[in-house]
Subunit: 150 residues, 2 copies
Amino acid sequence: MTEEEQIKADEQYMRRALAEAGLAMAAGEIPVGAVVVCRGRIVSRAHNLTETLCDVTAHAEMQAITAAANTLGGKYLTDCTLYVTVEPCAMCAGAIGWAQVSRVVYGASDEKRGYTLLAPRALHPKCSVTGGVLAEECARLMKEFFAARR
Amino acid sequence: MTEEEQIKADEQYMRRALAEAGLAMAAGEIPVGAVVVCRGRIVSRAHNLTETLCDVTAHAEMQAITAAANTLGGKYLTDCTLYVTVEPCAMCAGAIGWAQVSRVVYGASDEKRGYTLLAPRALHPKCSVTGGVLAEECARLMKEFFAARR
């Protein structure tokens, strides 16, 4: 895949993650969505459900990792890319590390709770990370959600 | 509660966490157990199930947090103490932080994957932490597990 094709593919998958974030928004949840892609195929998609499930661990990434392992029949996601609309937190970065996800692509940065601040070494050392994909659209959903709550 | 009573109570609850770790061991899982205590009452107990569930997120602490929220009917565990036989990893520390657990008591340290190394700022700033409770017993289970696998 050329670099240009990779950028195009990343944006395409991030749009799927954004669609998941939209579902979270519609359900009154903080709008974060995620998809896991394995060799060109979406193997899981999920959105934040912490309120619905009354469970702080129900972040989009956590559910996407659990579901991807279920689809693939193994708990390691070594050939997978996780797309998520907002930078993972320490918890999710830890899970991404345990799952040995090979690549993480995120949209908006999270300057307060992002893993780069709170858990910079939680990801697997071999994991490659791309941030800022469709960052404005991803951040806009978050801003809209919190503006509506004020 | 006097300091002496607190130490006695901590050891008593850690023995319950150790019993959970024993169940994990018996199931061929890395032997880690956890209990959540709210105002003198055990509101959840869990042990590591990553192999059984084929899910890297199924650490004892994660399940104990989810179950405690379910028991208490709210996702914040602000009046709770989480007892766990081994120092939490970055993922679990992140979850403990999100759940606003007020106190964490752990047994053995985890020098490779513990949160103090990988995610020192993941816990809630107000969370108080006590390490080293029944540390030798907690560590012995882990050593036995890994020795049997070699």
